[in-house]
Amino acid sequence: MIRAPHRARQSLKVVAAASLVALLAGACQADSAGIFPPSPVTEQGVLTQDLYRFVFAIATAIFLLVEGLIVWAVLRYRRRDDRLPVQTHGNLIAEAAWTVIPALIVIVLFVMSMQAQGKIEAKSAAPDVVVDVVGFQWQWTIGYGCPDSYDSATNVQPGQDCDFALTGAGKQGPDLHVPTGQTIRFRLHSADVIHAFYVPRFLYKKDVIPGRVNSFDVVVEQPGTYAGQCAELCGIGHAGMFLSLTAEDRGAYDAWYAAQVEGAKQTPAPTQAGAFTINLSATTAAGFDQTAVSAPADTPLAIVFQNKDQTVQHNVTVLNAGPDGGSAAGQPNAQPGQTVTYAVPPLKAGTYTYICSIHPNMTGTLTVQ
């Protein structure tokens, strides 16, 4: 009952074979996913890739050695008789070896990591381009040509004070442009919760933290368009917080920049005059009292929200309706018993969802026609 060496051997072989096949299938199957990071497009990313390959080589060697020893022990030392094996309690030399050698290996890895880190985290005294990134629930606003005060200002809204600002309105996210071969500094600001600015092809990310301005420098070497997205959980819209980054030569970048500046001048500021009023209320956290409302298109809206719930605060957040593709309104929260009016910019015809962002189960449909 306890002993089933033959069957055990069989099942071990099956298990080993099946998992090997599975791992190989996993490693080879998808086009874009492999055991190495995607090829880096920045000077700094190349350093990370080289370091990764080095650590990977060492880890693979240790993996093969240790798994080999395990498999060897399992196959070689199966019980064949009832005699007691030699009772070895330890061996000082062997134990010293497998303490000291790994310690030396990790110290080498540490030193190499610190050398690479020094170059990757280095800051230029005079970056060629400075891009300000503002993360908010659940989109990005990108400011170009923003004032130096943004170096330390934590609550910024790129707009009139910058050359121009990019938003994700009507798309999956804003389209950043940067010149290749030049030092670009990203300054990261958050308007609400923590986000993370992550472009996988940079092999780099940095957290976007309220109350702090994080920044990093990169030199993009490969021209092309690269996807990025938020990497720190920031609420229910986290999975849709995309951006796109195009690297092009300085000439094309300058032309793009000039066109954006021109475009910014022509865009009129949103107005709230003649707003159409929508009345909403909530009695409990189970839902809004009105689950379907309608409004005219291209007209500013004023949502008058009465919080009849005497226990908790609520708000009205209209998803995908902000001027930048993010959600509109939402703050401030209406305290129990309070009435708050939210201004929503003119919307195009279509169907929008409004929620209470504190209680995302509270939803309703806003039909704009």
Binding site: S19, Y77, T88, V106, A196, I209
Partner: protein, 551 residues
């Protein structure tokens, strides 16, 4: 078998079995209740994992909308860590530690009952949030400001309250185990003759006493922020939102060792027994356990490399160094098997499976200790893969080994070995199919905690593979449940010492009487039962009045 037959069984209690279990202070019954409730929470957490995997099998929203999805992974992580692995290991410690040191019970039996009964009620408190407007949805780490009142509802308060209570249980349990290990050891059971499982429980208990109060302070601060106008973590009012991460991870990283050290202990019990050799390098193993415990408090900010708010070199070197004692353990385990006589029982298969899987989780650590590589991998599925290799391929495999190994002691019955091997094979394949592809997804840029991904991101194939693997794990757990159910209906066939084991819990009946031992073998090493069987050691004098060493 050289052990003397231990005759007396406890007479029937003059009260109902339900009443007996509800009011018991017997460490063995409490241990079994811990283990049973932990398995129930494991099923709940596992179902949430399957729901998450089902949603991720294809782009778009199929099964869970973003709100429910965020609740699901938050509660999955919280449940698995605080209500499955911790109480499970506490349960095995409860049952096994007094037996292994030759004691009659824990030092404080009533506090022991209290620390168990807090667990199901704190779990109820946590899960009541599903009926009260939605559970916490900020991840098991509940980073501020997302967990502040402005962004999260009542579920977050219940999460804070549930974990605070759970922490009280952990601290009570840890103090109780420490007092038991320090004060109730049988004559001859010196500190360097303690079974390794007891050593790992000892170090874990010390970690709990230092780490959990720090979490508790964080939970209280966040509760004040949310409900009484505090601003500990609100930058707009002069607080610091990164402070939460420091407080959380100062608890959270030692917590990782709290979840894995007793698992190391289990493996260190199972491997020597089924290799018929002593644990290789006992003293080095104790030293490695203690140094992991100490170093474990110096690595917390490696979870925060991308915040730009921590001193990178310090946390990088400490993280690299902690792999050294872990590596020592790995080599000691292999050396234990070396030239042994290996018996592949299910418990042994899970122990070997633990070695094979945990190794991957450990090697992953060398990648994330390297700051530049961590900048690429942090908060991607690579991290999800790494932590599951440690906590599932590691802790959960050890828990399975412990279940098969100690089940005969707890019930007098063997779990079916054939079903056990089926369980192992499916679970081993399922584990690697689920978690290995996540490495590749993370490297290619898939962030963790996303409910959806673009169809053209190239992530679907690997996600399908992972989802398929998770279903295999689910099926393997069904096999285990069936095995337990069928076994409990069968006859008691396991004797006192069915595995030909080394430690004192096998020197009494299966299951042991309420007072544990009639008499103990002489204790001259960490393997008193082995000495009795092979070394010619005799029994110590019978204990007076059959009451064991009741304090």
């Amino acid at each position: 078998m050289a052990t003397t037959a231990l005759s007396p069984r406890v007479g029937a209690y003059p009260r109902s079995r339900v009443y007996e279990w509800l009011t018991t202070t017997d460490h063995k019954k409490i241990g079994i209740m811990y283990i049973t409730s932990a398995y129930l929470f494991f099923l709940v957490g596992g179902l949430m994992a399957l729901a998450i995997r089902t949603e991720l099998a294809a782009p778009g929203t199929q099964f869970l909308n973003p709100d429910i999805y965020n609740q699901a992974f938050t509660m999955h992580g919280t449940t698995m860590i605080f209500f499955f692995v911790m109480p499970m290991l506490a349960g095995f410690a409860n049952y096994i530690v007094p037996l292994q040191i030759g004691a009659a019970d824990m030092a404080f039996p009533r506090i022991n009952a209290l620390s168990f009964w807090i667990i199901p009620f704190s779990g109820l408190l946590l899960f009541s949030s599903f009926a009260l407007g939605g559970a916490a949805a900020g991840g098991w780490t509940s980073y501020t400001p997302l967990s502040e009142a402005k962004y999260a509802g009542t579920g977050q308060d219940l999460w804070l309250a549930g974990l605070l209570l759970n922490g009280v249980s952990s601290i009570l349990g840890a103090i109780n185990l420490l007092a038991t290990i320090f004060k109730l050891r049988a004559p001859g059971m010196t500190m360097l003759r303690l079974p390794i499982f007891v050593w790992t429980v000892l170090v874990t208990s010390v970690l709990l006493i230092f780490a959990v109060p720090v979490l508790a302070s964080g939970l209280v601060m966040l509760f004040i922020d949310r409900n009484y106008g505090g601003a500990f973590f609100d930058p707009a009012a002069g607080g610091d939102t990164v402070l939460w991460q420091h407080v959380f991870w100062f608890f959270g990283h030692p917590e990782v060792y709290i979840l894995i050290l007793p698992a190391f202990g289990i493996i260190s019990e199972v491997l020597p027994v089924f290799s018929r050799k002593p644990l290789f390098g006992y003293k080095a193993f104790v030293l490695a356990t203690v140094s992991i415990g100490v170093l474990g408090f110096g690595v917390w900010a490696h979870h925060m490399f991308t915040t730009g708010a921590v001193f990178l070199p310090f946390f990088s070197i400490t993280t690299f160094l902690i792999s050294v004692p872990t590596g020592v353990k790995m080599f000691n385990w292999i050396a234990t098997m070396w030239r042994g006589k290996l018996r592949f029982t299910t418990a042994m298969l899970f122990a070997v499976g633990f070695l094979a899987s945990f190794l991957i989780g450990g090697l992953d650590g060398a990648f994330s200790a390297s700051t530049p590589i961590d900048f690429a991998l942090q908060d991607t599925y690579w991290i999800v893969s790494h932590l599951h290799y440690v906590l599932f391929g590691g802790s959960a495999f050890a828990i399975m080994a412990a279940t098969y190994y100690w089940f005969p002691k707890m019930t007098g019955r063997f779990l079916d070995e054939r079903l056990g091997k089926v369980h192992f094979a499916i679970m081993f394949v399922g584990t690697h199919l689920t978690f290995f592809p996540m490495h590749l997804l993370g490297i290619s840029g898939m962030p963790r905690r996303i409910q959806d991904y673009a169809p053209n991101a190239g992530w679907q194939d690997l996600n399908v593979l992972a989802t398929f693997g998770s279903y295999l794990i689910g099926f393997a757990i069904l096999v285990l449940l069936w095995n337990i159910f069928a076994t409990l209906r069968g006859p008691r066939t396991a004797g006192d010492d069915p595995w030909d084991a080394n430690t004192l819990e096998w020197a009494t009946t299966s299951p042991p009487p309420a007072y544990n031992f009639d008499r103990l073998p002489e204790i001259r090493s960490e393997r008193p039962l082995f000495d009795l069987k092979h070394g010619g050691a005799g029994h110590a004098p019978a204990l007076p009045s059959g009451e064991g060493s009741q304090p």
